[in-house]
Symmetry: C2
Amino acid sequence: MTKHSYAIIGSGALGALYGSMLARQGHDVHFLLHSDYDHVKANGFKIESHWGDFELPEVHAHQSVASMPPCDVTILALKTVNNHLLPQLLPPPTSGGGAVLVLQNGLGVEQEVAEFVGRQRVLGGCCFLCSNKVGPGHIKHLDYGRIVFGPLECNSQTIGLAESICRDMTEAGIETLTSEDLNTVRWRKLMWNIPFNGLSVALNASTDKLVGDEDAVRLVRDIITEVHAAGSACGASIGDEWIEKTIDHTRQMVPYDSSMRLDYLAGRPMELRTILRTPIDTAAAAGVAMPKTSMLYQELCFLERNRD
Amino acid sequence: MTKHSYAIIGSGALGALYGSMLARQGHDVHFLLHSDYDHVKANGFKIESHWGDFELPEVHAHQSVASMPPCDVTILALKTVNNHLLPQLLPPPTSGGGAVLVLQNGLGVEQEVAEFVGRQRVLGGCCFLCSNKVGPGHIKHLDYGRIVFGPLECNSQTIGLAESICRDMTEAGIETLTSEDLNTVRWRKLMWNIPFNGLSVALNASTDKLVGDEDAVRLVRDIITEVHAAGSACGASIGDEWIEKTIDHTRQMVPYDSSMRLDYLAGRPMELRTILRTPIDTAAAAGVAMPKTSMLYQELCFLERNRD
């Protein structure tokens, strides 16, 4: 088995989990750390996961990308609110011609990366996971965890690249699937992210409270239906049954605060641009209005500026 | 000048203000009181108004309609969340054949009253005022105050009735206009009530905060536009300029918490049925969807059931 080198840009609840699992498997993984750098440098990562707990005492921790080597794969797991940093962050780890796997939320994120490294080197994926950072270098992975990813541009070379990364991940214990239809994967994830991230902030409620109230469920369903229709107009092929499935899956989820709600409550900026605005604009360009999603977006913009 | 007898059903920020002004003018005014009965019986009303402060020490206070005489005009100024009480409240004061002037919020409220006294005796009106009850029998009237009202069914007799009540009110110092198009008056008021009452609760903000934020103003404008279109489909004739005028008037208003926000914050039920649901249903019956207004309604239903 060939071991690959990975750069993890954004070592939070998602990047630290997957990166640590790849490192545990013997890959050469370099983590970009911000506030947790000193702690992780000294103590490594502590992962509590429903896939099995483990510690990673020795970590290639970096305070800046300047010290990172060129890597085979750069996993972008940064919040998209920090994407203005991409011009600084991407060049060092990708300077050897490596690929970038974008595991961020929302729409249009692969295209932003492609501007720096070219479309042929970009893959994108969605992570369906409930994971939180509960302390410095300490991740609690509560539920789910599947990654579905694929190349931005499909051809034999990029599909081969996707398959080799998928193999690494699967061997590392990560539930991973590849897809040749990244657009569909993105829109299906938006069917969850838009209603549940958005309404959990607008209605000040955890997702289990939302699926437990008839009016909230009606609203969730209306918004999912809008996202589904917008996705279809934008070329995604998602069966109608996914409207109810998305609600049902959330009913079965552990009670969980969405990442947007956690950001809101902590006073951090929310990923409104990539999760709501870009999908709304993309649908509008395809001739489809998303009135309730637009309203949610406007409410969230107001709330972000007017936190208590 | 003929003096008339008035029954005030609902002696809060609105009923106590207008009733006291009519009583000060020499009309025989009977007030139905609930929690403030003992205080008002002993001390009367204290009115602080931008039209001039005054006290009304002697008040015909009633703890129940059973002790009320039949009156020429019954002013219904009760919150519509209490309209299930109409079968008990209306018969005594209207038993002499008097009229009912419905000064409640929302749509369809005259029709509810007409079921008890017949359409010929019902008038309805909208009050554009900023007024709060600040203590037992103590009203603070901050801004505006105009009443626009008219008969539910227009004919020479009901128009004559409206004009005689208008005369009483004008002489009492209340800015009053009559209209032969109650439907238009109602929908124009809804153009304020739906966005500003609703969003002040959904976004946890006073109206001045809403008109001070670009995203909130965009959302307010979207919802007003929906209400305007719905009103047009339902026969109201409101010029397009009222969309911006409604926002501009609110910009000039004293900073003010809407009645719905005060109800929400105080843990009282909100007037969701008459202010939002009936307009949505009425518009739907006329073939017009109100997606953002419907979303606001669903959010408010959720929030009412899930208060902190």
